[in-house]
């Protein structure tokens, strides 16, 4: 094998493109900013080391997410304890909201809504959180998610159905359903 600059460049571009997604996945798994940052860092380091073994037709995004998940699972096994349930007070969304001249009311409403969505997602079980993140935010296909989670596609769909049902209940007052008031989900 020879070193491929094209491969290095493609990898760096992919890591760059999926950086937010990796961080969000790490946050959803760990629910802790420090742990999430460590997970992303370790994922990138390991991905660099393994880039030579990556086939040209590989799905780089799924590959990166799989590495991150495996690292997290290994850490859990090593600790032999439940994951830390610590919600960060910090808000990185605010760091990126660089627009300062917008209507403060709109900014407040929009930020509050996003905060409520994040809080609702964090109340779900870890398997619900990750399937919501992977499908609704990262737009991975059911097959890609099944491969990543190492489970049948049907399981992914049923987990997603349960997770969405729970979210509908948690966010019922935020859902703008045309023609009638939103009601809580069955759960």
């Amino acid at each position: 094998m020879t070193f491929s600059f094209e491969k290095a460049h493609n990898f760096s571009a992919a890591a760059d493109e999926h950086f937010d997604g990796l961080y969000a996945y790490a946050m959803v798994l760990s629910r802790n900013r420090t742990e999430a940052e460590d997970l992303v860092q370790e994922t990138c380091v390991r991905a660099m080391q393994a880039i030579g073994r990556l086939r040209p037709d590989s799905n780089v995004k799924s590959w990166l997410f799989t590495i991150l998940r495996n690292i997290w699972l290994n850490q859990l096994r090593q600790r032999r304890t439940a994951p830390t349930i610590e919600l960060d007070g910090g808000d990185s969304t605010a760091e990126l909201a660089v627009e300062t001249s917008k209507d403060p009311h709109d900014q407040y409403v929009s930020k509050m809504e996003s905060d409520q969505v994040r809080e609702a997602i964090q109340q779900l079980s870890v398997e619900s959180r990750e399937v919501i993140l992977l499908r609704e935010y990262e737009e991975l296909s059911y097959q890609e998610i099944a491969s990543l989670l190492d489970c049948p596609t049907g399981t992914v769909m049923s987990r997603l159905g349960r997770a969405r049902s729970k979210l509908r209940a948690l966010l019922s007052d935020k859902l703008h359903v045309p023609g009638r008031r939103a009601k809580g989900a069955a759960e």
Binding site: V45, T93, L96, E113
Partner: protein
């Protein structure tokens, strides 16, 4: 299992446009006669819309990129090279043709890690942050267009009058923009027709979605402040002082550009070369922009 239970499982597939053929027909037929399933579908659509509006769920802190690059470099050098060797490698990499020199002087295994670390070090610099922001804006533009096509983003102002739509947005976004007073034309025929607009949330801020349509296609134009949104990457087409960035995103054709403090993303399913796609609108509107319109 009753009929509703059977079709509940189809709702997610329907939302993903994954139902086709007779399954789609059967589901739609059931939906038209079942208020409960219709109500659940509407709730699922509302949930999807709410989740999309909260993207990105957790944006990565900018500082993390720098830390990752530094950690990657440390990790690579610590595992494979002593510091003197690493310094020599870096000097040689930057001063000569890297690939040939690297393969002659060192083994590929050690240098792969080193070079990758250097590549990442460059990538995760401000230019990388710029590209990430460009990608985020691109993704938002595509997701917004898809939601608009799916009926999840109803227009808040419906008008084919640029003056009316411009006036509606005034004061609602943290930036000012003005639509050109007449649509772009190809020869003497209008390329598309303005249909209206609405506000869209982007990173906690309101930005503008302006919609157009041709005989067969709907077109979205996202307008945001260039302090928030960046146009970069893709196939570049230059015209005058402007640089258009043309990319395919899924089944969509996306063109982004920045002008006068605003960043635009035009999304459609229209086919054609980058050059043609960009310049059809641009050549015609350019004259108007020079007269005061801020479309370009």
């Amino acid at each position: 299992m009753n009929t509703c239970d059977k079709h509940r499982a189809d709702i997610l597939l329907y939302l993903d446009n994954a139902l086709t053929g007779w399954q789609l027909g059967e589901f739609q037929a059931h939906l038209s006669g079942c208020p409960d399933c219709k109500a659940q579908l509407e709730e699922e659509q509302a949930l999807s819309s709410l989740l999309r509006s909260s993207r990105p769920l957790y944006p990565a802190p900018d500082g993390l990129r720098a830390r990752v690059a530094a950690a990657a470099a440390r990790h690579g050098s610590a595992r494979t090279l002593d510091p003197d060797l690493l310094r020599k490698a870096r000097l040689q990499i930057f001063s000569q043709h890297v690939r040939h020199l690297a393969q002659r002087a060192f083994g590929w295994k050690t240098l792969t890690v080193t070079i990758l670390a250097l590549v990442l070090g460059v990538v995760f610099a401000p230019a990388a942050i710029r590209r990430t922001r460009a990608t985020a804006y691109l993704k938002t533009a595509i997701a917004t267009h898809r939601s608009y096509l799916n009926g999840e983003l109803p227009l808040q102002i419906r008008s084919d009058s640029p003056e009316v739509v411009t006036a509606w947005f005034a004061g609602k976004t943290p930036f000012h923009f003005q639509l050109p007073t007449s649509p772009p034309t190809l020869g003497s025929k209008p390329v598309c027709r303005l249909t209206g607009g609405r506000l869209v949330n982007y990173q906690g801020s309101s930005i503008a979605l302006v919609t157009y349509e041709t005989v067969s296609e709907k077109i979205s134009l996202l307008v945001a402040s260039s302090t928030t949104a960046v146009a970069a990457g893709g196939e570049e087409v230059r015209s005058g002082d402007l640089t258009f960035h043309h990319r395919r995103g899924g089944s969509f054709n996306v063109i982004t550009w920045t002008n006068r403090g605003l960043t635009y993303a035009l999304v459609s399913s229209l086919s054609g070369s980058a050059q043609h796609s960009c310049l059809v609108c641009h050549q015609d509107i350019r004259a108007q922009a020079a007269q005061g319109g801020s479309f370009l």
